[in-house]
């Protein structure tokens, strides 16, 4: 008994006994959580800005995709109406928190939450997500946390200004079209060189002029009598290599866009780029934050800072968050990123601390290593796809009872390709990792050709993978939007093994000769 007492630091008095919260208590909890996170576990975070808001404000935050300042657009209104509606009818609880990747890192706490929930949210958002934003390589390369708020303000003002000058409708149309292409407004492979919002604003004027000049250069009509120009026609395709970033291509090359329209395209593209890391790290980000709220609050309990009642309430919420319904449950809607991410980070810690024989074979490098260092390395250097590829362990596959189903439209039945057994681990891991690869998940569509010297039409190519076609009616809608931006004919070719198998044109080709 005495031995036990000396091994552990003396238990402290709980910070609070009831579930009521007030601002002093929040500050107190935050200080304690910060102490444990920074001093004991060495998490590196941006400064935090904790904002207490009401549920209505939470709905506002929801519908602006968590951006604290957003430009106005009907689609946000639609989202607001949808959330409000679900919430009013009790079909959906609001998320306990929203956190914004900025410096200081802004986290919203709802006033309805109890003290244990507020503590959970602080641990989850202000130390979990926050350290992820600061540490993960994707966020480090792609987003500039200190500048994002300024940029959002710039964007909002710019778009409001455009609405004043050119009418709400005209701006809305451009935004609609850009939103349709938003997923194709990111550079997947190129690295950016980040600019601050300050420079951004200063450059905008400059850009407007020079861009227009450049575009005019590209589309300059050549006098027809110069004989050698005709001959050159077939030799060069523009762009010389397919372009993956459709919005960038449009911003730089669309023949008839006004300068302000180009700037709006750019704003949407920047937005898309800002959110791109989040889309690529859902599992990791949520898993990391969940792992840390779980670890930090348990640490607080061990120190005696929180009561048992607190822990019960916390654990109940935690269990809800990480629940994974099985595939045949009516609640099932894909793999819960919280559940998968939490299970993986937790198992990673177990592999470091208490490795089994199996772990030593699968993870010879990390079995038995320092868990904190290993977890931080994993958090910093991977995205969902590669994280799963590297760290999905057999024991997590077994726990979640993962299995892979092959759906081939040439076969009458579905086939179970792999299950959670010795032969299947590798395959399940491979397939799950691919499932999180955005470039497989989303159709691979690139700009193939802009007919600079012909009819000015724009041709996109969709390269089919595993014969998977595009949803045709939706694709046609997106093309209509693209047509609005490009303003000349647009074509979409679907290519399977080097052959064009399907062709979609807007405006619909009426008498195009079929090859």
């Amino acid at each position: 008994m005495a031995d036990h007492d000396t091994a552990r630091p003396a238990r402290k008095a709980p910070l609070s006994e009831t579930s009521e919260w007030n601002f002093d208590l929040i500050a107190l909890y935050d200080r304690e959580i910060a102490r444990i996170a920074h001093d004991r576990f060495g998490l590196d975070t941006f400064p935090n800005q904790i904002e207490v808001i009401s549920s209505e404000q939470m709905m506002d935050a929801y519908s602006s995709v968590g951006m604290p300042v957003g430009y106005n657009h009907w689609s946000f209104g639609k989202q607001f109406v949808e959330v409000e509606n679900l919430y009013r009818r009790g079909q959906m609880g609001l998320a306990y928190e929203i956190v914004i990747n900025s410096s200081p890192c802004i986290a919203y706490l709802m006033e309805e939450n109890t003290m244990p929930m507020q503590a959970l949210v602080i641990a989850h958002a202000c130390y979990g997500h926050n350290s992820f934003f600061k540490g993960n390589y994707l966020f480090r390369t792609w987003t500039d946390a200190s500048a994002i708020i300024d940029y959002l303000v710039f964007a909002r003002h710019y778009i409001a200004e455009c609405e004043e000058r050119h009418g709400v409708e005209a701006v809305e149309q451009i935004l609609d079209s850009c939103h349709a292409l938003m997923n194709y407004g990111v550079d997947r492979y190129k690295r950016p060189n980040p600019v601050s919002a300050e420079t951004e604003r200063n450059r905008q004027q400059e850009r407007e002029e020079s861009l227009q000049k450049q575009v005019s250069e590209l589309w300059k009509t050549f006098p027809a009598m110069q004989p050698d120009i005709k001959r050159r026609k077939s030799t060069q395709r523009y762009p010389s290599e397919p372009q993956e970033n459709l919005l960038y291509f449009i911003e730089k090359n669309a023949p008839l866009l006004e300068p302000w329209q180009r700037e709006i395209v750019r704003i949407v593209r920047k937005m898309a780029q800002y959110f791109y890391p989040q889309r690529q790290t859902k599992v990791m980000n949520e898993g990391w934050a969940t792992f840390w709220h779980y670890t930090l609050l348990h640490e607080m309990y061990d120190e005696g800072l929180v009561t048992e009642g607190f822990m019960l309430e916390f654990l109940q919420s935690h269990a809800q968050v990480v629940y994974q319904p099985p595939f045949d449950s009516p609640q099932y809607s894909g793999i819960n990123p919280y559940a998968l991410g939490f299970a993986m980070f937790r198992d990673l810690r177990r592999i470091c601390e208490h490795p089994t024989e199996e772990d030593r074979i699968w993870f010879p490098d990390i079995a038995g290593s320092d868990w904190l260092g290993t977890l931080k390395f994993a958090m910093q250097s991977f995205k969902d796809e590669s994280f799963i590829q590297q760290f999905l362990s057999p024991s997590v596959i077994r726990d979640l009872k993962l299995f892979a189903v092959l759906d081939d439209d040439e076969e009458a039945n579905l086939e179970i390709r792999a299950i959670h057994n010795e032969r299947g681990y590798q395959q399940v891991r491979q397939m799950l990792s691919e499932q999180y690869n955005l470039s497989i998940h989303e159709p691979n569509i690139q700009v193939y050709e802009a007919a600079v010297r012909g009819d000015r039409s724009l041709t996109l190519q969709h390269v089919r993978q595993d014969r998977r076609p595009l949803a045709r009616d939706k694709a046609a809608d997106v093309l209509r939007h693209l047509h609005r931006l490009w303003q000349f004919d647009v074509h979409l070719e679907s290519v399977d093994q080097g052959r064009v198998v399907e062709r979609l044109s807007i405006p619909a080709a009426t008498e195009e000769p079929q090859p």
């Binding site: 602006s64 209104g77 509606n85 595939f327 894909g334 179970i416 299950i419 799950l432």
Partner: protein, 426 residues
């Protein structure tokens, strides 16, 4: 390290603009949905908001997605009985089209988009494009309503209405005026004093200097003694009451309660009256309703009795019209009120009464009225009253209208037809 901010006091309606833009964009769909809703709604809750359902496809923000088909592998959790190599029948409906669902990431199986319109928005949509005929003709002077307007500046008033700028200006003017003579004299004396100072020392000079100095001091005291702000300087903002023109309307609901009107027919009539009432309420600041029911004789009743008590007997429509004319004469002088009437009946009437009705309408009622609408609730052929009213309508198409209602579904369309904004009028 952390900043804690209480944002609860900030505005919560950050999304208002976005919400309005959304509503504007889907105006058409919403109006269709409102039209549907009105016809299905029970009469009591017409003024409630409405849940609007818009087919999801109309709200799409399209994105590129994979379609059904091809070859794909999906990892699922929670395996119980499957072994590697098992084949299972393709679940119906899924057809491999999983990708689209997941990518949209908004609740599965939600085909429609539903949301609540608040009562105000609902009524806006309900009455959009409708107008009260002949409304512009009378903007009437009400006796009770006035508003407070600025009425200039006065020198007496309530301390709370002090006009500071004007008071200070007044004070400054008074100070200048009162001290003008003293200041002029002071200037002269000062000049003389300065001149003397430059002269050579002499006894007279010294005496004069002392004298001057004394006078200067006295003058300065006097100037100083002028009060900075005096009660006479105070100026007050004045307000006056100004009568404002107010639009007032009275609506007569006239219903046949004879034996031939069944309860369903009355329900239909009630819905129609209710719509009319809501509509008038939106257009006039003050609306009164008079219920007149009739069989062979007419009576003014309260709402409850109007809709729910039942009587039997024959039908003499003119009795109700006569009573209406009397009430108007007594209580609603036509130069002060906008007068509307809606009559609902199954069209049954004593044969020789219909010409009498036409006569009363033509000579007594219609000249005083803004609009008289007649709805015949009759699924079958028209009866005597319709024919005479038809002629009336042809001779006075602007103030008289008639329509037929077959069932609940007709009420709103008929209402729209009666009050459709007529382009030639505007």
């Amino acid at each position: 390290m952390s900043f804690i901010v209480d944002r609860r006091l900030n505005g919560k309606n950050k999304s208002t603009i976005n919400r309005q833009r959304f509503l504007k964009r889907y105006r058409e769909h919403i109006r269709d949905a409102v039209d549907d809703a009105v016809n299905q709604r029970s009469i009591r809750d017409m003024e409630r908001g409405e849940r609007i359902i818009i087919p999801r496809k109309n709200l799409n923000e399209p994105q590129f997605h994979h379609g059904a088909g091809g070859r794909r592998t999906i990892v699922h959790p929670g395996n119980r009985e499957f072994q590697q190599g098992d084949t299972i029948a393709r679940p119906p409906g899924s057809g491999g089209g999983d990708g689209g669902d997941k990518a949209s990431n908004q609740g599965d199986g939600m085909d429609d988009f539903a949301f609540e319109l608040d009562p105000g928005e609902f009524l806006n949509f309900l009455f959009e494009g409708l107008a009260l005929p002949n409304l512009v003709k009378r903007q009437l002077q009400g006796d009770t309503h006035s508003r407070i307007v600025h009425g200039g500046i006065v020198s007496q008033g309530n301390p709370s209405k002090i006009n500071i700028v004007r008071s200070m200006r007044q004070a400054s003017m008074r100070r200048r005026a009162l001290s003008a003579a003293a200041r002029r004299r002071l200037r002269d004396l000062q000049a003389e004093y300065d001149k003397l100072l430059n002269e050579e020392q002499s006894i007279t000079r010294q005496a004069r200097l002392g004298e001057l100095k004394e006078q200067i001091e006295r003058l300065e005291r006097r100037i100083k003694g002028i009060p900075y702000l005096d009660t006479v300087d105070l100026r007050y903002n004045h307000t006056v009451r100004q009568p404002v023109p107010m639009t007032r309307a009275v609506m007569f609901c006239i219903m046949d309660v004879s034996g031939s009107m069944s309860q369903e027919m009355k329900e239909l009539a009630k819905r129609f009256f209710l719509l009319l009432y809501l509509f008038l309420q939106r257009n006039y600041q003050h609306t009164e309703v008079v219920f007149v029911r009739h069989h062979t004789s007419a009576k003014e009743v309260d709402e409850e009795e109007f809709f729910y008590s039942r009587e039997t007997g024959g039908t003499i429509v003119s009795s109700a019209l006569r009573l209406t004319a009397d009430i108007i004469r007594e209580r609603y002088p036509e130069d002060r009120w906008n007068i509307y009437a809606a009559q609902a009946s199954d069209g049954d009437n004593w044969n020789d009464d219909s010409p009498a009705c036409t006569k009363i309408l033509l000579e007594e009622l219609l000249p005083k009225m803004q609009y008289f609408s007649y709805v015949e609730i009759m699924p079958r052929r028209h009866q005597a009253l319709w024919e005479s009213y038809k002629q009336l309508q042809q001779s006075m198409p602007k103030v008289f209208a008639l329509q037929q209602i077959d069932g609940p579904g007709d009420i709103y369309p008929v209402f729209r037809e009666l009050f459709r904004q007529r382009l030639e009028e505007h």
